[in-house]
Symmetry: C2
Amino acid sequence: MIAPDMATMLCFIFTDAKIPAPVLQSLLKKGVDETFNCTTVDSDTSTSDSVLLIATGQTKHRRVPAEGGKMVADFARALKEVLLDLALQVVRDGEGAQKLVRIDVTGAKTARSAKKIGMVVANSPLVKTAIAGEDANWGRIVMAVGKAGEPADRDTLSIGVGGTWMAKSGGVVPGYDETPVVAHMKGREIEIAIDIGLGRGKATVWTCDLTHGYIDINGSYRS
Amino acid sequence: MIAPDMATMLCFIFTDAKIPAPVLQSLLKKGVDETFNCTTVDSDTSTSDSVLLIATGQTKHRRVPAEGGKMVADFARALKEVLLDLALQVVRDGEGAQKLVRIDVTGAKTARSAKKIGMVVANSPLVKTAIAGEDANWGRIVMAVGKAGEPADRDTLSIGVGGTWMAKSGGVVPGYDETPVVAHMKGREIEIAIDIGLGRGKATVWTCDLTHGYIDINGSYRS
């Protein structure tokens, strides 16, 4: 959970724009679904995490059209940037976290399926300890894809790390050179790509590695 | 996963009894559902875990009736004992495990719901690190019950450790004395009781604690 343990994450975002509450609510829900709700530290949840978006209406501008339009689209883009920045600060601050991990899932049957697969990989203790140990263990990623219980096929599955595909269509990429992958794993920001090869569903989720620091912090807390 | 990592658990059970294969299969499925499939080390799965039950038919005895009866019931009981013993050996052997944890869930809407709740608690890193730290953190247990997504109500929920109820019907038990709970947490076998207070569904699952040993073993492995 979020440091320092059993904390409650309270997030307040203010804008001076004059946007009606129903429009704000809809933009916030979509933005949170793609940012905060796509992040995890350890799969455990806090009891009252909240994100509030408040428009003061101080800025003088023309009425925001109910059907959206360019102004709303621009605002939505800026809002998502803010939400993602805040959400990733939370993940980076995960107990004992040393690395921020981005997992891009493509080729799933649906977007929902892609997100489920991404979150199962993101929460796998074996994947997270491999990352802590700077080992690009794609066998563990394949294992986590399998246990997600979503449509997947070993023979169409591809796994990449740091922009290098290690396995494609169920086998090791011919002539695969691990040098760039090994170098990438030593960094602070890790990128994992998973292509399921079955459809057009995609999702991106974020997590952190699982280190001794996590055990130190959560094993020494006294309730 | 099972030590030494990415291992495959192969379990073979032999009996000299003369029991037809379909009866054996049905007994084994039920037995495994209540033992091996109610245990977890870290939620991660191996790719080809197998349990085989083989009857040699060497023993001379009367034909086993298709409809079951006392002989089959006795055999089922003995089989479950063997399966549970083997399954708990696997959990005790979990990477870095210092404590075996038994979680009894009662009062759930259904048995399936009880098992789901039990497994979510059993896989919660926050619950498992609290146990490693010998802290009877019932707030973390309540959190894990909540994130299971099964029917549950704070006001009917009771949590006990080592035979002592800490919280009953959503509040701390009046006059609760933590002395026996603190003593229990220092042992090698931990018992957690969760009563949902909504129905008659129940299940028992087993897990282990999450320690520095887990990070050592899984973070230092090289693929």
